[in-house]
């Protein structure tokens, strides 16, 4: 306190000036209010000529007053613009509502007679409509329920072995004079499968092995091996089998690899399967990236396939496996379906390796690229099996 006194001896004088400042401020405030009032009246054009002259004089004399006037004028301007826009927006809102109501009213007039009818007969119509709807749905459900899968337009391609086939077998035997390797019973169903690893794992469609008591696979040379089911994936329609036969000799290497990415439409593709007792080659092209009714699990392939082709590999021209043949559309030319290799790999990866006595090792090397088709098929044939289901 003393220090303050010492360092600022003129402070008492200052206090006096401060008081005077405050007084001036008070006066100024009154003055400002009057000034603002003046400015506003000026803006509204309410000033008399004498007042106007006084006002101009004031503005010229005092720069500060002039600044206040300019500031206030611009602010009033902002406020007016704001008000105008606010009014416009509310008017527009009104106009919009009117416009909307107008639209609806007109529409109502047009539909008035229909509405009247509707109101009178609403209950009748509702009952009739619900009965009709119920009938349609019931019929449709029943039809779906009682018709077997063969009558739907998607048909799986496992082959039901019938007497005709047996007679053909007999015929072949007669001609060749030697029996085909133990065709003791040709099984209930036939399909195709192919090796996915060198140690005897084979993949096929789930619908081929569905409900099987026992399964055998038969190679091109006619040797049959007993297999057991390791893994089934009904969603992707895949089944992994393992050859459990002691006579089976492991392969040295598989010639094909699996393609993980999607293949393009128009890709040249081929398959080998067992629609017959012998392997049959089929060639075509990939026609769509989605399968039956937009099924994203599958490709649509334009390729000749028949019952027994199910589970056969679908390869591109480089010998990569891009899918597995699973079905075709009936009454529809050239529309076969193949499950994408991506899902095939996913299924294989889903198998817990711990529960297997031999690990599944997928080949990454492809030995078919660059070969012509005849040589590709020769190399492939040993790895494709006929799946016989009892």
């Amino acid at each position: 306190m003393i220090g303050l006194w010492l360092s600022k001896p003129e402070s008492s004088e200052q206090r006096v000036t401060l008081k005077i400042d405050a007084n001036i401020k008070l006066i100024r405030m009154k003055h400002d209010q009057q000034l603002i009032d003046f400015v506003e009246r000026h803006l509204r054009g309410e000033l008399s000529p004498e007042e106007l002259a006084e006002f101009d004089q004031l503005c010229v004399e005092d720069q500060e007053v002039k600044n206040i006037v300019i500031e206030h004028q611009s602010f009033i301007q902002h406020l007016t613009v704001y008000g105008a826009r606010k009014r416009l927006v509310s008017d527009m809102e009104e106009a919009y509502q009117q416009f909307k109501v107008g639209g609806i009213v007109k529409q109502r007039e047009k539909t008035f007679t229909i509405k009247k009818l509707w109101h009178t007969y609403r209950s009748h119509i509702t009952v009739a409509a619900s009965v009709a709807l119920f009938a349609v749905i019931t019929t449709w459900t029943l039809m779906r329920h009682f018709s077997d899968s063969g009558s739907t337009s998607y048909s799986i391609l496992r082959r039901e072995v019938n007497s005709l086939k047996q007679s053909q077998n007999a015929l072949i035997r007669n001609i060749n004079g030697k029996p085909v390797n133990k065709p003791e019973d040709s099984g209930r169903f036939r399909g195709t499968g192919f090796a996915i690893s060198t140690n005897g794992y084979v993949i096929t469609n789930y619908h081929v092995v569905q409900g099987a008591d026992s399964i055998q696979v038969q190679n091109e040379e006619g040797q049959s091996f007993k297999v057991k089911q390791i893994y089934v994936d009904p969603v992707c329609d895949l089944a992994v089998l393992q050859i459990s036969d002691p006579h089976f000799k492991t392969f040295t290497a598989l010639p094909y690899s699996f393609k993980r990415s999607l293949s393009d439409i128009g890709e040249d593709v081929f398959t080998i399967g067992f629609p017959d007792d012998k392997s049959v080659y089929g060639r075509g092209y990939l026609s769509s990236r989605t399968g039956y009714a937009g099924d994203t699990l599958a490709y649509q392939v334009s390729i000749p396939v028949n019952p027994g082709n199910s589970g056969g590999p679908l390869l591109d021209s480089h010998g990569n496996i891009i899918g597995i043949i699973s079905g075709k559309q009936t009454h529809f030319d050239g529309a076969a379906f193949a499950i994408k290799s991506k899902f095939l790999l996913k299924s294989i990866e889903a198998i817990s390796q711990d529960s297997l006595d031999k690990k599944i090792v997928l080949t990454k090397r492809n030995m078919l690229a660059g070969l012509d088709r005849k040589d590709q098929i020769k190399k492939l044939q040993n790895y494709i099996f006929m799946v016989k289901v009892y």
Partner: protein
């Protein structure tokens, strides 16, 4: 819902066409602050804008907003006195709406390829830049007024926007006389100015 509206609007529109106003009549109406003009503007041009917005990722609500904004641009331009009818009013509104909508779409980060490749008929840069500044000022004022709080806001609005007399305001707010109300109005005004100008520097003034 939106399309239903378009359809009903088109039905009405066919009937209205018979007594629709010419562009010059509409502009005269805007200058005269005629309310009917707004109704006519909605009837004549809103369906077009509605269709533009609906077919480009927008809703009916968006169309309403965009149309309102374009009408504000039109009003500002007409009232500023520098509106020359270089194109049809329809083209002007369509172009403004298209630009505003494109801007909003870009703002939302949505793809707006559908309309960006259409040609622009008229140069609107200046109008839209001005509109943007005015828009900012408008929201600035809105914000300042809401910060001001009641009853100050009501007094200011009554006096400066509704143009009510000081006596009316004094009666409404229960002041003993008009002079007291006037003092209160002055204080409110000073506070509002302070709030407004404290944020004003962020807005370009030119």
């Amino acid at each position: 819902m939106g399309y239903k509206l378009v359809r009903s609007v088109l039905i009405v529109n066919r009937k209205i066409k018979e007594y629709s106003l010419s562009d010059n009549e509409l502009i005269a109406g805007i200058l005269a602050d005629s309310r009917l003009t707004l109704n006519h503007l909605y009837q004549s041009f809103f369906p077009m804008v509605l269709q533009l917005i609906l077919s480009n990722n927008g809703s009916e609500e968006d169309a309403k907003d965009i149309f309102q904004e374009s009408i504000i641009v039109l009003y500002d331009k007409v009232k500023a006195g520098n509106f020359e009818l270089s194109s049809k009013l329809k083209t002007f509104i369509y172009s403004v709406c298209k630009r505003l909508w494109l801007k909003r779409l870009n703002h939302k980060g949505r793809n707006a390829l559908n309309i960006s490749d259409l040609d622009d008929f008229i140069a609107l840069e200046e109008d839209l830049d001005q509109h943007e500044i005015k828009d900012k000022l408008f929201w600035q004022m809105e914000q300042s007024l809401s910060q001001l709080g009641q009853p100050c806001r009501a007094i200011i609005e009554d006096y400066y926007i509704q143009n009510k007399s000081m006596q009316d305001i004094s009666d409404r707010f229960g002041y003993t006389n008009a002079d007291n109300a006037k003092t209160q109005k002055y204080k409110c005004m000073q506070r509002l100015k302070k709030i407004f100008f404290s944020c004003y520097s962020s807005i370009s003034n030119d």
